[in-house]
Amino acid sequence: MKKYSGFSLFKHSLSHHENWQAAWRSPQPKKEYDVIIVGGGGHGLATAYYLAKVHGITNVAVLEKGYLGGGNTARNTTIVRSNYLWDEASKLYDHSLDLWKDLSQDLNYNVMFSQRGVLNLGHNLQDMRDIERRVNANRLNGIDGVVLNTAEVKEIVPIINDSQDIRYPVLGASWQATGGVARHDAVAWGFARGADSFGVDLIQQCEVLDIVTEEGAVVGVKTNQGFIGAKKVACVTAGNSGVMAAMVGLRLPIESRPLQALVSEPIKPIIDTVVMSNAVHAYVSQSDKGDLVIGAGTDSYNGYGQRGSFNIVEHTMSAICELFPMFSRVRMNRAWGGIVDTCPDACPIISKTSVKGLFFNCGWGTGGFKATPGSGNVFAHTLAHDEAHPLAAPFSIDRFSTGHLIDEHGAAGVAH
Protein backbone atom coordinates (compact mmCIF):
# COMPACT_ATOMS: atom_id res chain seq x y z
CA MET A 1 0.00 0.00 0.00
CA LYS A 2 1.39 3.38 -0.99
CA LYS A 3 0.98 5.84 1.86
CA TYR A 4 -1.08 8.98 1.36
CA SER A 5 0.75 12.17 2.31
CA GLY A 6 1.09 15.81 1.35
CA PHE A 7 4.11 14.89 -0.68
CA SER A 8 2.29 12.13 -2.61
CA LEU A 9 -0.52 14.58 -3.34
CA PHE A 10 2.02 17.00 -4.82
CA LYS A 11 3.81 14.24 -6.74
CA HIS A 12 0.61 12.93 -8.30
CA SER A 13 -0.54 16.44 -9.20
CA LEU A 14 2.37 16.50 -11.67
CA SER A 15 0.76 13.58 -13.54
CA HIS A 16 -2.78 15.00 -13.27
CA HIS A 17 -3.73 12.48 -10.55
CA GLU A 18 -4.04 9.73 -13.13
CA ASN A 19 -1.57 7.26 -11.61
CA TRP A 20 -2.88 6.71 -8.09
CA GLN A 21 -2.70 3.11 -6.93
CA ALA A 22 -6.15 1.54 -6.57
CA ALA A 23 -7.22 1.71 -2.92
CA TRP A 24 -7.83 -2.05 -2.81
CA ARG A 25 -7.57 -5.08 -5.10
CA SER A 26 -10.56 -6.90 -6.60
CA PRO A 27 -9.41 -10.49 -6.17
CA GLN A 28 -11.11 -13.72 -7.20
CA PRO A 29 -12.23 -15.71 -4.16
CA LYS A 30 -9.87 -18.45 -2.99
CA LYS A 31 -11.19 -21.95 -2.24
CA GLU A 32 -10.64 -21.69 1.50
CA TYR A 33 -10.10 -18.98 4.10
CA ASP A 34 -9.45 -19.03 7.83
CA VAL A 35 -12.29 -16.57 8.40
CA ILE A 36 -15.09 -15.39 6.15
CA ILE A 37 -16.79 -12.14 7.08
CA VAL A 38 -20.21 -11.76 5.51
CA GLY A 39 -21.03 -8.11 4.93
CA GLY A 40 -18.69 -5.41 3.64
CA GLY A 41 -20.04 -2.48 5.59
CA GLY A 42 -18.14 -0.46 8.17
CA HIS A 43 -18.41 -3.08 10.93
CA GLY A 44 -17.40 -5.99 8.66
CA LEU A 45 -14.45 -4.13 7.19
CA ALA A 46 -13.33 -2.94 10.62
CA THR A 47 -13.50 -6.54 11.84
CA ALA A 48 -11.30 -7.67 8.94
CA TYR A 49 -8.86 -4.83 9.56
CA TYR A 50 -8.40 -5.57 13.27
CA LEU A 51 -8.26 -9.34 12.64
CA ALA A 52 -5.30 -8.75 10.37
CA LYS A 53 -3.64 -5.93 12.27
CA VAL A 54 -4.08 -6.93 15.90
CA HIS A 55 -4.38 -10.71 15.65
CA GLY A 56 -2.27 -11.43 12.57
CA ILE A 57 -5.04 -13.41 10.86
CA THR A 58 -4.79 -12.34 7.23
CA ASN A 59 -6.26 -15.30 5.35
CA VAL A 60 -9.63 -13.56 5.51
CA ALA A 61 -12.32 -12.76 2.97
CA VAL A 62 -15.00 -10.11 3.26
CA LEU A 63 -17.98 -11.06 1.09
CA GLU A 64 -20.26 -8.21 0.08
CA LYS A 65 -23.35 -8.74 -2.04
CA GLY A 66 -23.38 -5.15 -3.32
CA TYR A 67 -20.50 -2.72 -3.03
CA LEU A 68 -18.39 -1.86 0.01
CA GLY A 69 -20.09 0.44 2.49
CA GLY A 70 -23.25 0.61 0.39
CA GLY A 71 -25.76 -0.35 3.07
CA ASN A 72 -26.31 1.36 6.39
CA THR A 73 -22.75 2.73 6.36
CA ALA A 74 -23.87 4.94 3.48
CA ARG A 75 -27.25 5.70 5.00
CA ASN A 76 -26.66 6.94 8.54
CA THR A 77 -26.30 10.39 10.03
CA THR A 78 -22.64 9.88 11.06
CA ILE A 79 -23.02 10.79 14.73
CA VAL A 80 -20.35 9.57 17.15
CA ARG A 81 -20.82 9.71 20.94
CA SER A 82 -20.55 7.41 23.94
CA ASN A 83 -22.94 8.86 26.53
CA TYR A 84 -24.87 5.63 27.13
CA LEU A 85 -26.48 4.97 30.50
CA TRP A 86 -25.43 1.45 31.46
CA ASP A 87 -21.85 0.44 32.30
CA GLU A 88 -21.66 -2.32 29.67
CA ALA A 89 -22.86 -0.13 26.81
CA SER A 90 -20.97 3.01 27.80
CA LYS A 91 -17.70 1.05 28.03
CA LEU A 92 -18.20 -0.48 24.60
CA TYR A 93 -19.06 2.81 22.94
CA ASP A 94 -16.31 4.66 24.78
CA HIS A 95 -13.79 2.06 23.60
CA SER A 96 -14.97 2.91 20.12
CA LEU A 97 -14.67 6.65 20.74
CA ASP A 98 -11.07 6.13 21.86
CA LEU A 99 -10.31 4.35 18.59
CA TRP A 100 -12.00 7.13 16.58
CA LYS A 101 -9.54 9.66 17.98
CA ASP A 102 -6.52 8.16 16.18
CA LEU A 103 -8.34 6.42 13.38
CA SER A 104 -7.23 8.73 10.56
CA GLN A 105 -3.58 8.28 11.57
CA ASP A 106 -3.98 4.57 12.12
CA LEU A 107 -5.58 3.99 8.72
CA ASN A 108 -3.56 6.66 6.87
CA TYR A 109 -6.97 7.72 5.58
CA ASN A 110 -8.78 10.89 6.55
CA VAL A 111 -12.05 9.81 8.13
CA MET A 112 -12.77 13.47 8.91
CA PHE A 113 -13.59 12.73 12.55
CA SER A 114 -14.70 16.02 14.03
CA GLN A 115 -15.32 16.25 17.77
CA ARG A 116 -17.79 19.09 17.57
CA GLY A 117 -19.91 18.00 20.54
CA VAL A 118 -23.32 16.39 20.81
CA LEU A 119 -26.37 17.86 22.52
CA ASN A 120 -29.24 15.63 23.63
CA LEU A 121 -32.21 17.90 24.34
CA GLY A 122 -34.71 17.58 27.15
CA HIS A 123 -38.26 18.87 26.68
CA ASN A 124 -39.97 18.13 29.95
CA LEU A 125 -39.17 17.54 33.60
CA GLN A 126 -38.81 13.78 33.18
CA ASP A 127 -36.42 14.24 30.23
CA MET A 128 -34.25 16.52 32.40
CA ARG A 129 -34.24 14.03 35.28
CA ASP A 130 -33.22 11.26 32.89
CA ILE A 131 -30.50 13.49 31.45
CA GLU A 132 -29.11 14.25 34.91
CA ARG A 133 -29.09 10.57 35.80
CA ARG A 134 -27.39 9.66 32.53
CA VAL A 135 -24.75 12.40 32.74
CA ASN A 136 -23.93 11.36 36.31
CA ALA A 137 -23.63 7.73 35.22
CA ASN A 138 -21.39 8.81 32.35
CA ARG A 139 -19.10 10.82 34.61
CA LEU A 140 -18.74 7.88 36.99
CA ASN A 141 -17.63 5.86 33.96
CA GLY A 142 -15.09 8.51 32.97
CA ILE A 143 -17.12 9.81 30.04
CA ASP A 144 -17.32 13.57 29.80
CA GLY A 145 -20.74 15.13 30.08
CA VAL A 146 -22.48 18.14 31.52
CA VAL A 147 -26.10 19.13 32.01
CA LEU A 148 -26.97 22.42 30.38
CA ASN A 149 -29.95 24.73 30.89
CA THR A 150 -31.84 26.52 28.13
CA ALA A 151 -29.56 29.58 28.11
CA GLU A 152 -26.45 27.42 27.90
CA VAL A 153 -27.93 25.45 24.99
CA LYS A 154 -28.76 28.72 23.26
CA GLU A 155 -25.16 29.82 23.69
CA ILE A 156 -23.89 26.72 21.86
CA VAL A 157 -26.63 26.77 19.20
CA PRO A 158 -27.76 30.38 18.78
CA ILE A 159 -30.31 29.49 16.10
CA ILE A 160 -32.32 27.17 18.34
CA ASN A 161 -35.82 28.23 19.32
CA ASP A 162 -35.63 28.84 23.08
CA SER A 163 -39.14 30.16 23.60
CA GLN A 164 -40.96 28.26 26.31
CA ASP A 165 -44.41 28.34 24.72
CA ILE A 166 -43.75 25.84 21.92
CA ARG A 167 -45.07 22.28 21.96
CA TYR A 168 -41.70 20.81 22.96
CA PRO A 169 -39.76 23.62 24.67
CA VAL A 170 -36.01 23.19 25.16
CA LEU A 171 -35.56 22.91 28.93
CA GLY A 172 -31.95 21.88 28.70
CA ALA A 173 -29.65 19.24 27.33
CA SER A 174 -26.80 16.89 27.99
CA TRP A 175 -23.58 17.91 26.29
CA GLN A 176 -20.81 15.51 25.36
CA ALA A 177 -18.01 17.69 24.02
CA THR A 178 -15.97 14.73 22.78
CA GLY A 179 -18.81 13.51 20.55
CA GLY A 180 -19.11 14.57 16.97
CA VAL A 181 -19.34 13.31 13.43
CA ALA A 182 -17.15 11.45 10.94
CA ARG A 183 -17.24 10.97 7.19
CA HIS A 184 -19.18 7.73 6.80
CA ASP A 185 -17.88 6.62 3.37
CA ALA A 186 -14.29 7.35 4.34
CA VAL A 187 -14.63 5.05 7.35
CA ALA A 188 -15.62 2.12 5.13
CA TRP A 189 -13.01 2.98 2.51
CA GLY A 190 -10.25 3.52 5.06
CA PHE A 191 -10.90 0.18 6.76
CA ALA A 192 -11.19 -1.51 3.35
CA ARG A 193 -7.86 -0.11 2.18
CA GLY A 194 -6.23 -0.98 5.48
CA ALA A 195 -7.55 -4.56 5.49
CA ASP A 196 -6.55 -5.03 1.84
CA SER A 197 -3.02 -3.87 2.61
CA PHE A 198 -2.68 -6.80 5.06
CA GLY A 199 -3.82 -9.22 2.34
CA VAL A 200 -7.52 -9.51 3.22
CA ASP A 201 -9.59 -10.31 0.10
CA LEU A 202 -12.51 -7.92 -0.37
CA ILE A 203 -14.94 -9.65 -2.70
CA GLN A 204 -17.79 -7.52 -3.97
CA GLN A 205 -20.92 -8.61 -5.85
CA CYS A 206 -20.66 -11.85 -3.91
CA GLU A 207 -23.93 -12.79 -2.26
CA VAL A 208 -24.02 -15.54 0.33
CA LEU A 209 -26.90 -17.86 -0.59
CA ASP A 210 -26.42 -20.46 2.11
CA ILE A 211 -24.23 -21.29 5.10
CA VAL A 212 -22.97 -24.85 4.83
CA THR A 213 -22.58 -26.89 8.02
CA GLU A 214 -21.43 -30.42 8.76
CA GLU A 215 -22.22 -32.05 12.10
CA GLY A 216 -23.15 -28.77 13.69
CA ALA A 217 -20.03 -26.92 12.55
CA VAL A 218 -19.56 -24.38 9.78
CA VAL A 219 -17.53 -25.56 6.78
CA GLY A 220 -18.14 -22.66 4.39
CA VAL A 221 -20.67 -20.63 2.45
CA LYS A 222 -22.43 -21.09 -0.85
CA THR A 223 -22.32 -17.87 -2.88
CA ASN A 224 -23.22 -16.68 -6.34
CA GLN A 225 -19.49 -17.09 -7.09
CA GLY A 226 -19.44 -20.71 -5.93
CA PHE A 227 -18.62 -22.45 -2.67
CA ILE A 228 -16.02 -20.84 -0.40
CA GLY A 229 -14.72 -22.82 2.54
CA ALA A 230 -13.99 -21.54 6.07
CA LYS A 231 -14.11 -22.93 9.59
CA LYS A 232 -15.21 -19.56 10.92
CA VAL A 233 -17.99 -17.48 9.40
CA ALA A 234 -18.84 -14.11 10.89
CA CYS A 235 -22.11 -12.45 9.91
CA VAL A 236 -22.03 -8.67 10.08
CA THR A 237 -25.10 -8.13 7.97
CA ALA A 238 -27.18 -5.60 9.95
CA GLY A 239 -30.77 -5.67 8.70
CA ASN A 240 -30.29 -8.98 6.91
CA SER A 241 -29.05 -10.84 9.98
CA GLY A 242 -32.37 -12.62 10.43
CA VAL A 243 -32.16 -13.91 6.86
CA MET A 244 -28.59 -15.16 7.49
CA ALA A 245 -29.61 -16.86 10.75
CA ALA A 246 -32.51 -18.61 9.03
CA MET A 247 -29.99 -20.30 6.68
CA VAL A 248 -28.86 -22.48 9.58
CA GLY A 249 -32.28 -22.66 11.22
CA LEU A 250 -31.47 -20.12 13.95
CA ARG A 251 -33.73 -17.34 15.13
CA LEU A 252 -32.55 -14.01 16.48
CA PRO A 253 -34.22 -11.56 18.85
CA ILE A 254 -34.13 -9.00 16.06
CA GLU A 255 -36.64 -7.22 13.90
CA SER A 256 -35.56 -5.35 10.78
CA ARG A 257 -37.07 -1.91 10.29
CA PRO A 258 -36.58 0.98 7.90
CA LEU A 259 -34.84 4.00 9.44
CA GLN A 260 -34.87 7.21 7.46
CA ALA A 261 -32.56 10.14 7.01
CA LEU A 262 -32.51 13.11 4.71
CA VAL A 263 -30.22 15.91 3.62
CA SER A 264 -30.98 19.46 2.57
CA GLU A 265 -29.51 21.55 -0.18
CA PRO A 266 -26.05 22.84 0.83
CA ILE A 267 -26.17 26.07 2.81
CA LYS A 268 -23.51 28.21 4.48
CA PRO A 269 -22.18 27.06 7.86
CA ILE A 270 -24.99 27.57 10.36
CA ILE A 271 -24.74 24.80 12.93
CA ASP A 272 -21.36 23.62 14.18
CA THR A 273 -22.46 20.86 16.52
CA VAL A 274 -24.87 17.92 16.65
CA VAL A 275 -28.36 18.43 18.09
CA MET A 276 -30.41 15.38 18.96
CA SER A 277 -33.83 15.11 20.49
CA ASN A 278 -35.11 11.81 21.71
CA ALA A 279 -38.60 13.03 22.49
CA VAL A 280 -39.39 14.52 19.09
CA HIS A 281 -37.39 11.98 17.08
CA ALA A 282 -35.19 14.43 15.29
CA TYR A 283 -31.52 15.10 15.02
CA VAL A 284 -29.49 17.45 12.90
CA SER A 285 -25.92 18.33 12.06
CA GLN A 286 -24.27 20.03 9.11
CA SER A 287 -21.89 18.22 6.79
CA ASP A 288 -18.69 19.77 5.48
CA LYS A 289 -20.44 20.18 2.12
CA GLY A 290 -23.03 22.35 3.88
CA ASP A 291 -26.04 20.04 3.75
CA LEU A 292 -28.12 19.70 6.87
CA VAL A 293 -28.05 16.00 7.76
CA ILE A 294 -31.31 15.09 9.45
CA GLY A 295 -32.21 11.79 11.04
CA ALA A 296 -35.75 10.59 11.54
CA GLY A 297 -37.23 7.69 13.46
CA THR A 298 -37.84 4.11 12.40
CA ASP A 299 -41.04 2.87 10.91
CA SER A 300 -43.08 0.90 13.40
CA TYR A 301 -43.34 -2.18 11.17
CA ASN A 302 -40.83 -4.73 9.87
CA GLY A 303 -39.46 -4.02 6.42
CA TYR A 304 -36.54 -4.78 4.12
CA GLY A 305 -37.42 -2.30 1.37
CA GLN A 306 -34.81 0.42 2.14
CA ARG A 307 -37.49 3.09 2.08
CA GLY A 308 -39.66 4.44 4.84
CA SER A 309 -43.05 5.98 5.36
CA PHE A 310 -43.61 9.59 4.48
CA ASN A 311 -45.48 10.30 7.72
CA ILE A 312 -42.26 9.58 9.68
CA VAL A 313 -40.33 12.19 7.67
CA GLU A 314 -43.17 14.67 8.03
CA HIS A 315 -43.17 14.19 11.80
CA THR A 316 -39.42 14.74 12.01
CA MET A 317 -39.52 17.83 9.82
CA SER A 318 -42.26 19.43 11.91
CA ALA A 319 -40.05 18.93 14.97
CA ILE A 320 -36.96 20.31 13.19
CA CYS A 321 -38.89 23.36 12.00
CA GLU A 322 -40.17 24.04 15.50
CA LEU A 323 -36.68 23.77 16.99
CA PHE A 324 -35.06 25.70 14.14
CA PRO A 325 -37.67 27.99 12.55
CA MET A 326 -35.11 29.32 10.04
CA PHE A 327 -34.84 25.83 8.49
CA SER A 328 -38.47 25.99 7.36
CA ARG A 329 -37.32 27.58 4.10
CA VAL A 330 -34.50 25.14 3.38
CA ARG A 331 -35.26 22.61 0.66
CA MET A 332 -34.60 18.96 1.28
CA ASN A 333 -32.54 17.28 -1.42
CA ARG A 334 -32.70 13.57 -0.77
CA ALA A 335 -34.31 11.12 1.65
CA TRP A 336 -33.53 7.45 2.01
CA GLY A 337 -34.06 4.48 4.28
CA GLY A 338 -31.70 1.92 5.72
CA ILE A 339 -32.74 -1.40 7.22
CA VAL A 340 -31.74 -1.47 10.86
CA ASP A 341 -31.66 -4.58 13.02
CA THR A 342 -33.46 -3.56 16.18
CA CYS A 343 -32.96 -5.56 19.36
CA PRO A 344 -35.47 -5.64 22.24
CA ASP A 345 -32.99 -3.91 24.58
CA ALA A 346 -31.52 -1.60 21.91
CA CYS A 347 -28.07 -3.13 22.38
CA PRO A 348 -26.04 -5.18 19.93
CA ILE A 349 -25.43 -8.92 19.82
CA ILE A 350 -21.72 -9.77 19.55
CA SER A 351 -21.75 -13.47 20.02
CA LYS A 352 -20.96 -17.05 19.20
CA THR A 353 -23.94 -19.18 18.28
CA SER A 354 -25.02 -22.77 18.86
CA VAL A 355 -23.48 -23.59 15.47
CA LYS A 356 -19.72 -24.12 15.89
CA GLY A 357 -17.71 -21.52 14.02
CA LEU A 358 -20.67 -19.25 13.30
CA PHE A 359 -20.53 -15.80 14.84
CA PHE A 360 -22.91 -12.87 14.73
CA ASN A 361 -22.28 -9.17 15.19
CA CYS A 362 -25.66 -7.55 14.74
CA GLY A 363 -28.50 -5.80 16.48
CA TRP A 364 -26.85 -2.38 16.41
CA GLY A 365 -30.22 -0.99 15.43
CA THR A 366 -30.39 2.73 14.93
CA GLY A 367 -26.99 3.57 16.38
CA GLY A 368 -24.27 1.40 14.90
CA PHE A 369 -22.15 3.93 13.03
CA LYS A 370 -20.52 5.40 16.15
CA ALA A 371 -19.44 1.93 17.18
CA THR A 372 -17.76 0.99 13.88
CA PRO A 373 -14.12 0.83 15.07
CA GLY A 374 -14.96 -0.54 18.53
CA SER A 375 -17.34 -3.15 17.17
CA GLY A 376 -14.75 -4.39 14.67
CA ASN A 377 -12.06 -4.36 17.33
CA VAL A 378 -13.90 -6.46 19.93
CA PHE A 379 -15.46 -8.74 17.33
CA ALA A 380 -12.05 -9.47 15.79
CA HIS A 381 -10.85 -10.50 19.27
CA THR A 382 -13.91 -12.72 19.69
CA LEU A 383 -13.21 -14.39 16.33
CA ALA A 384 -9.47 -14.80 16.88
CA HIS A 385 -9.71 -16.29 20.38
CA ASP A 386 -13.03 -18.10 20.00
CA GLU A 387 -13.98 -16.32 23.19
CA ALA A 388 -15.71 -13.00 23.75
CA HIS A 389 -13.62 -9.87 24.26
CA PRO A 390 -14.27 -8.67 27.85
CA LEU A 391 -16.15 -5.64 26.52
CA ALA A 392 -18.22 -7.84 24.19
CA ALA A 393 -19.04 -10.55 26.75
CA PRO A 394 -22.16 -8.84 28.16
CA PHE A 395 -23.53 -8.64 24.60
CA SER A 396 -23.81 -12.39 24.13
CA ILE A 397 -27.05 -13.74 22.73
CA ASP A 398 -27.41 -15.68 26.00
CA ARG A 399 -28.56 -12.51 27.75
CA PHE A 400 -32.07 -13.02 26.40
CA SER A 401 -32.46 -16.26 28.33
CA THR A 402 -30.46 -15.27 31.43
CA GLY A 403 -32.44 -12.03 31.65
CA HIS A 404 -29.33 -9.86 31.89
CA LEU A 405 -30.55 -7.35 29.32
CA ILE A 406 -28.83 -4.00 28.89
CA ASP A 407 -31.83 -1.77 28.59
CA GLU A 408 -30.67 1.25 26.64
CA HIS A 409 -34.09 1.83 25.16
CA GLY A 410 -34.97 5.44 25.74
CA ALA A 411 -32.24 5.70 28.35
CA ALA A 412 -29.35 6.61 26.09
CA GLY A 413 -30.69 9.88 24.78
CA VAL A 414 -31.17 8.19 21.44
CA ALA A 415 -33.96 8.62 18.98
CA HIS A 416 -34.89 4.96 18.82
Binding site: G242, P253, G303, S309, T402
Partner: protein, 107 residues
Protein backbone atom coordinates in the same frame (compact mmCIF):
# COMPACT_ATOMS: atom_id res chain seq x y z
CA UNK B 1 -47.81 5.19 3.58
CA UNK B 2 -49.88 2.05 3.76
CA UNK B 3 -53.60 1.88 3.14
CA UNK B 4 -54.84 -0.96 5.26
CA UNK B 5 -58.25 -2.63 5.22
CA UNK B 6 -59.66 -3.05 8.72
CA UNK B 7 -61.61 -6.33 8.75
CA UNK B 8 -63.83 -5.02 11.54
CA UNK B 9 -64.56 -1.53 10.16
CA UNK B 10 -64.63 -3.03 6.65
CA UNK B 11 -62.93 0.06 5.23
CA UNK B 12 -59.54 1.08 3.86
CA UNK B 13 -57.85 3.46 6.29
CA UNK B 14 -54.47 5.24 6.42
CA UNK B 15 -51.48 3.75 8.21
CA UNK B 16 -51.47 6.50 10.83
CA UNK B 17 -54.76 5.24 12.26
CA UNK B 18 -53.06 1.95 13.14
CA UNK B 19 -50.31 0.76 15.43
CA UNK B 20 -48.13 -2.14 14.45
CA UNK B 21 -47.92 -4.64 17.27
CA UNK B 22 -45.56 -7.31 15.96
CA UNK B 23 -45.53 -10.84 14.65
CA UNK B 24 -48.84 -12.71 14.70
CA UNK B 25 -49.74 -16.27 15.70
CA UNK B 26 -47.28 -16.45 18.61
CA UNK B 27 -48.94 -18.53 21.27
CA UNK B 28 -48.22 -17.93 24.93
CA UNK B 29 -46.85 -21.09 26.56
CA UNK B 30 -49.62 -22.79 28.50
CA UNK B 31 -47.47 -23.37 31.57
CA UNK B 32 -44.59 -20.83 31.66
CA UNK B 33 -43.10 -22.29 34.83
CA UNK B 34 -42.71 -25.69 33.19
CA UNK B 35 -40.60 -24.57 30.21
CA UNK B 36 -36.88 -23.78 29.99
CA UNK B 37 -35.43 -20.26 30.07
CA UNK B 38 -34.48 -20.70 26.40
CA UNK B 39 -38.05 -21.57 25.41
CA UNK B 40 -39.37 -18.62 27.40
CA UNK B 41 -36.80 -16.29 25.75
CA UNK B 42 -37.87 -17.62 22.36
CA UNK B 43 -41.47 -16.74 23.15
CA UNK B 44 -40.66 -13.26 24.53
CA UNK B 45 -37.83 -12.02 22.32
CA UNK B 46 -37.02 -14.21 19.31
CA UNK B 47 -38.85 -13.51 16.06
CA UNK B 48 -38.89 -14.99 12.58
CA UNK B 49 -38.28 -11.56 10.94
CA UNK B 50 -38.55 -12.87 7.36
CA UNK B 51 -37.77 -11.01 4.17
CA UNK B 52 -40.97 -11.65 2.27
CA UNK B 53 -44.34 -12.84 3.53
CA UNK B 54 -44.95 -11.90 7.16
CA UNK B 55 -48.02 -12.41 9.33
CA UNK B 56 -48.38 -9.59 11.79
CA UNK B 57 -50.78 -7.92 14.18
CA UNK B 58 -52.07 -4.40 13.77
CA UNK B 59 -54.17 -2.40 16.22
CA UNK B 60 -56.76 0.01 14.86
CA UNK B 61 -55.91 2.63 17.50
CA UNK B 62 -57.77 5.58 15.98
CA UNK B 63 -60.69 3.49 14.73
CA UNK B 64 -62.49 0.52 16.20
CA UNK B 65 -59.62 -0.08 18.67
CA UNK B 66 -59.48 -3.78 17.85
CA UNK B 67 -56.56 -6.00 16.96
CA UNK B 68 -56.48 -7.87 13.67
CA UNK B 69 -53.94 -9.77 11.57
CA UNK B 70 -52.36 -8.90 8.25
CA UNK B 71 -50.28 -10.77 5.71
CA UNK B 72 -47.73 -8.34 4.30
CA UNK B 73 -44.64 -8.62 2.13
CA UNK B 74 -41.74 -7.03 4.03
CA UNK B 75 -39.79 -6.51 0.81
CA UNK B 76 -42.46 -4.91 -1.42
CA UNK B 77 -44.58 -3.70 1.55
CA UNK B 78 -47.71 -4.97 -0.21
CA UNK B 79 -50.50 -5.89 2.19
CA UNK B 80 -51.88 -9.12 0.75
CA UNK B 81 -54.78 -9.59 3.14
CA UNK B 82 -56.11 -8.68 6.55
CA UNK B 83 -58.12 -11.04 8.69
CA UNK B 84 -59.79 -11.13 12.07
CA UNK B 85 -58.20 -12.44 15.23
CA UNK B 86 -58.64 -16.20 15.52
CA UNK B 87 -58.70 -16.66 11.73
CA UNK B 88 -55.83 -18.15 9.75
CA UNK B 89 -54.14 -16.53 6.73
CA UNK B 90 -55.04 -17.72 3.23
CA UNK B 91 -51.77 -16.41 1.78
CA UNK B 92 -48.51 -17.76 3.20
CA UNK B 93 -44.89 -17.96 2.07
CA UNK B 94 -45.67 -21.48 0.82
CA UNK B 95 -48.67 -20.44 -1.31
CA UNK B 96 -46.74 -17.50 -2.79
CA UNK B 97 -43.80 -19.78 -3.67
CA UNK B 98 -46.21 -22.30 -5.23
CA UNK B 99 -47.81 -19.50 -7.29
CA UNK B 100 -44.41 -18.36 -8.55
CA UNK B 101 -43.54 -21.90 -9.63
CA UNK B 102 -46.91 -22.20 -11.42
CA UNK B 103 -46.30 -18.90 -13.24
CA UNK B 104 -42.76 -19.99 -14.19
CA UNK B 105 -44.16 -23.21 -15.67
CA UNK B 106 -46.72 -21.29 -17.74
CA UNK B 107 -44.04 -19.13 -19.32
Amino acid sequence: MHHIYCPYCEEMREEEEYSYTGEAHIERPKDPAAISDEAWADYIFFRSNPRGIHHEMWYHAAGCRRYFNATRDTQSYKVHETYKMGEMPTITAATVAANQVAKGDAS
